[in-house]
């Protein structure tokens, strides 16, 4: 066990956990930030994606000891009152079915738009292909990313 100081959603947290504990389980079990989801545990589905600086990273395979000083953003910290252009677009397009994967989808899209505010269809599909949606909401995910992009231009 060791102490780690984490910067998450603009706040500082201190946790005492084993160094190999994935960030995902620190968020969920120790900090009560359950918006980041567990689904595969091997970085295949994207349900656990968070932003580390500006990159979408699967938190399920990132040991807490490797997070360091980097700023972590989870779905809870994407915006103060749930009005990030992506969150609004996700509502406008009514993207979700079961909804379980959608936080990870939104975080993957957030990383894309930070680097490329005006992606093409192809660029959206490239960026989102690492996120599985078992309900098959892919058309609406793409539509919502493009809608959010059109609003932040």
């Amino acid at each position: 066990m060791a102490n780690y100081n984490l910067k998450i959603n603009g706040k500082s947290y201190q946790v005492d956990v084993d160094e190999d504990t994935p960030l995902l389980w620190v968020l969920r079990d120790h900090l009560g930030l359950v918006g980041t989801k567990y689904s595969c545990g091997i970085a295949q589905c994207g349900a656990c994606k968070v932003l580390i600086k500006d990159d979408a990273v699967p938190a399920c395979v990132l040991p807490v000891s490797q997070v360091g000083e980097d700023e972590v953003t989870t779905i809870e910290g994407l915006s103060e009152s749930g009005d990030h252009p992506l969150q609004e677009a996700w509502n406008e397009v009514d993207v979700a079915q079961c909804g379980y994967c959608q936080a990870g989808q939104i975080m993957a899209a957030a990383a894309l738009l930070k680097k490329n505010p005006a992606p093409s269809d192809e660029e959206v599909m490239d960026a989102m292909n690492g996120n599985i949606c078992r309900c098959g909401t892919y058309h609406r995910i793409k539509e919502a990313v493009l809608l959010a992009s059109s609003k932040i231009k």
Partner: protein
């Protein structure tokens, strides 16, 4: 207006505080409501709301609380059910607060998510719940204004008096109206007067889902709660020995014990359990000497197809003489693998076995089954078990079972503390229960005029029950028909998997009908029309589908896709009736640089009245993506009683780049609505396989397509 007798059982007067909602302690009215508005919590609202019936409470502040009794797993019932109550109430939708009801056998029946059955079951009940309350509100207004009720009307949460132009809000009337006698007969609206039904209402959980609020079973954390994971045996095996020495050394693990052939690992948080599970050494031995493998299953299919004792499911005419006298005989075999349901949220459940009962919280499609299972294990009466349904991160039939509930209850009972059992993804994929593997043999006899005079279907399924649907099309349209089913009792646990049986049968049947159409030299659309005409004009035996509605969806999809009018495009038709709805699809495949590219699939659906167009579009589209993904890519093979695919690196699910354009159309009618969670899935595989055939000449008879010899020469998969 249509008048109905109310069912008293649905309208038991219950105390306002009896509630029954999932009180999570936070709530957003709706995503598009002004964010600065002070939001009343669910608890505050329930403290003042006045109860009308099992589905509805009205608060003096104007809020309309609607309880949604069925588990929500993505089928959008938590939005579409309340829409129906709100419609007949004439509520202002922006004032509606939806709460998930707990399991309550007194207030509700059929609190189940399965079989696409919720909508047909509840349509009238929900309408009456709204209409009855509306009538009571009007009576209260009539008394207060001292006018005749016939002078009153309602609109958007208000009672209006035509003469005086006076308006009274429902909130204002809530307490008075609730004192009145519940009316026996209530008029229901005409379809043309619907204001909420038929409009696209957004998912009521959007805001909570998109901001990461705790909605799902895995998000449950309670005071004093322990976590647990379970190591389960491969199919057909039992524990020989357990060595937990290394596993126990993992810090954070508090207890390891065996129950049945399972080993439970208990601790304070999840990660140490995952580590300990890797270190846990369990030796297994076969229960009866043989362990199942895919090779064994294939051999069984061959043997049983040839010599198995079949159950005759339907027999019309005399197939033997029809086939003897046939000018042409077409026959083919089709096969599909086992499949895991693999919802994105792995199985999990919270249980707290107390001295006086059991508290259950979690994602289940059958809360009633969860309750009975818990009562039995804990040794208490079912009345002592409470079940709170969280949102389900997908289900697809997997959560109809209660195995994960039983584990949570067994562990809580043993450790004397509340516990949440979490399955890893590997547990989920390797732990059953699967879509059964099935092989079908079809045979068709054509006479010299190329009319289908004989049809045989023989199915062999692994724990599939009846693997046919003997009364489905084309039954009723062929003079001589024989449908037979053979079941092999396998060690592998199987279960209903979205659109049970038809999820593969429809592919096989619709592909085979195209094979027959080709042998008969007929256009696939015309060939099906011919059969439907036959069923209509001279039905053979019983007909269990509506011929006109079936033809209607073919006509609509053929019109939308421009059937037969596109050059260089292989168009594949598939049409199926399942779970009370009719869906026809046409897939289009174009050859690009020598490779078949699936460009688009059109769907025409007849589910009666479309309650929520945005939700309905989602169900059809999602069902098609699901049907396509599993037909194209997903395989599950077995060795030594265990699946060889254990996680999403080898168990392949469809991704964004693999999905074609989809166009969704609905038949416009006023028939009472039927469900949509399943019916759009079955036709998709057949539409794709038929389109691939007409584009390439390669006939696909086994799933997944991507692994078949017929496609080896092509590059298939992601769009350019």
């Amino acid at each position: 207006m249509k008048t109905l007798k109310t069912n008293r059982r649905d309208f038991l007067k219950i105390a306002a505080t009896a509630g029954g909602g999932l009180l999570l302690g936070f709530h957003f009215t709706r995503c598009d409501s002004p964010s600065k508005m002070k939001v009343v919590t669910d608890e505050e609202l329930m403290a003042q709301a006045v109860n009308y019936n099992s589905y509805l409470s009205i608060s003096p502040d104007g809020h309309i609380v609607i309880f949604s009794p069925n588990p929500e797993l993505g089928q959008n019932i938590k939005t579409s059910f309340p829409m129906i109550v709100a419609e007949e109430l004439d509520a202002d939708w922006s004032k509606v607060r939806v709460m998930q009801a707990f399991l309550d056998g007194e207030k509700y029946d059929r609190q189940v998510t399965g079989g696409s059955g919720a909508m047909p079951h509840s349509w009238e009940r929900l309408r009456k719940a709204g209409a009855t309350a509306r009538m009571m509100l009007m009576e209260a207004a009539a008394k207060r204004l001292d006018v005749d009720i016939s002078e009153l009307s309602t609109e958007k949460g208000q009672v209006l008096h035509s003469g005086s132009k006076k308006k009274i809000s429902y909130g204002d009337l809530a307490k008075d109206a609730a004192q009145l006698e519940v009316p026996e007969d209530v008029p229901l609206k005409k379809v043309k007067d619907f204001k909420i039904i038929g409009t696209p209402i957004k998912n009521v959980d959007n805001k909570a889902m998109f901001t990461g609020k705790p909605l799902f079973g895995l998000d449950i954390y309670k005071e004093g709660m322990m976590n647990a994971m379970v190591k389960r045996p491969p199919f057909g095996m039992k524990i020989k020995s357990v060595d937990d020495e290394e596993a126990k050394k993992v810090s954070g693990v508090t207890e390891i014990f065996t129950f049945g052939d399972n080993v439970a690992i208990v601790g304070i948080s999840t990660w140490p359990l995952m580590k300990a599970k890797q270190k846990l050494k369990v030796e297994y031995e076969p229960k009866n000497g043989k362990l199942e493998s895919s090779e064994m299953h294939n051999q069984l299919f061959t043997d049983l197809m040839k010599n198995g004792k079949a159950q005759v499911m339907r027999k019309d005419g005399n197939v033997n003489s029809a086939f003897r006298g046939a000018a042409k005989v077409v026959s083919a075999e089709y096969q599909c693998p086992f499949l895991s349901h693999s919802p994105m949220e792995p199985m999990n459940f919270y249980a707290h076995v107390k001295a006086d009962g059991v508290e259950l919280v979690g994602p289940t499609q059958t809360p009633d089954r969860a309750r009975s299972a818990a009562a039995e294990i804990a040794g208490v009466d079912v009345e002592k078990v409470s079940v709170e349904m969280t949102r389900l991160g997908g289900g697809f039939g997997r959560r109809l079972r209660a195995d994960f509930v039983e584990e949570a209850v067994s562990i809580s009972k043993k450790i004397g503390a509340p516990v949440k059992v979490t399955w890893s993804r590997e547990d989920d994929i390797t732990g059953g229960a699967y879509r059964p593997a099935v092989r079908y043999r079809f045979e068709a006899a054509l006479d010299k005029d190329n009319k289908m005079i004989g049809y045989k279907l023989r199915g062999v399924g692994m724990n599939a029950g009846n693997c046919t649907r003997e009364n489905n099309f084309p039954s009723g349209s062929v003079d001589n028909l024989l449908i037979e089913s053979i079941e092999y009792k396998s060690d592998l646990t199987t279960n209903a998997w979205r659109a049970p049986i038809t999820n593969f049968l429809a592919f096989a049947e619709q592909s085979f009908l195209d094979e027959v159409a080709e042998a008969a030299g007929k256009d696939p659309v015309q060939f099906r029309y011919e059969l439907l005409d036959r069923a209509k004009n001279k039905p053979v035996g019983e007909i269990h589908y509506d011929i006109d509605r079936m033809r209607g969806v073919i006509e609509l999809v053929a019109d939308k896709c421009g059937w037969g009018q596109k050059n260089g495009v292989g168009q594949g038709l598939s049409v199926y009736f399942s779970h009370r709805s009719y869906v026809a699809q046409v897939a289009e495949v174009r050859m690009e640089q020598g490779n078949p590219v699936l460009e688009r699939i059109y769907a025409a659906t007849d589910c009666g009245i479309v309650v929520n167009p945005t939700g309905a579009d989602q169900q059809v589209r999602g069902g098609m993506v699901d049907g396509m993904g599993h037909a194209m890519f997903t395989n599950m093979t077995f060795r030594d009683g265990a699946p060889t695919q254990k996680n999403f690196d080898s168990y392949r699910l469809i991704r964004m780049k693999e999905v074609p354009e989809i166009e969704v159309h609905f038949v416009d009618n006023e028939i009472d609505p039927t469900g949509l969670g399943e019916p759009a899935l079955p036709p998709t595989g057949g539409a794709i396989s038929n389109a691939i055939y007409w584009a390439t000449g390669k006939r696909l008879r086994n799933q997944p397509f991507i692994e078949q010899e017929e496609l080896k020469e092509y590059k298939i998969g992601q769009r350019a």
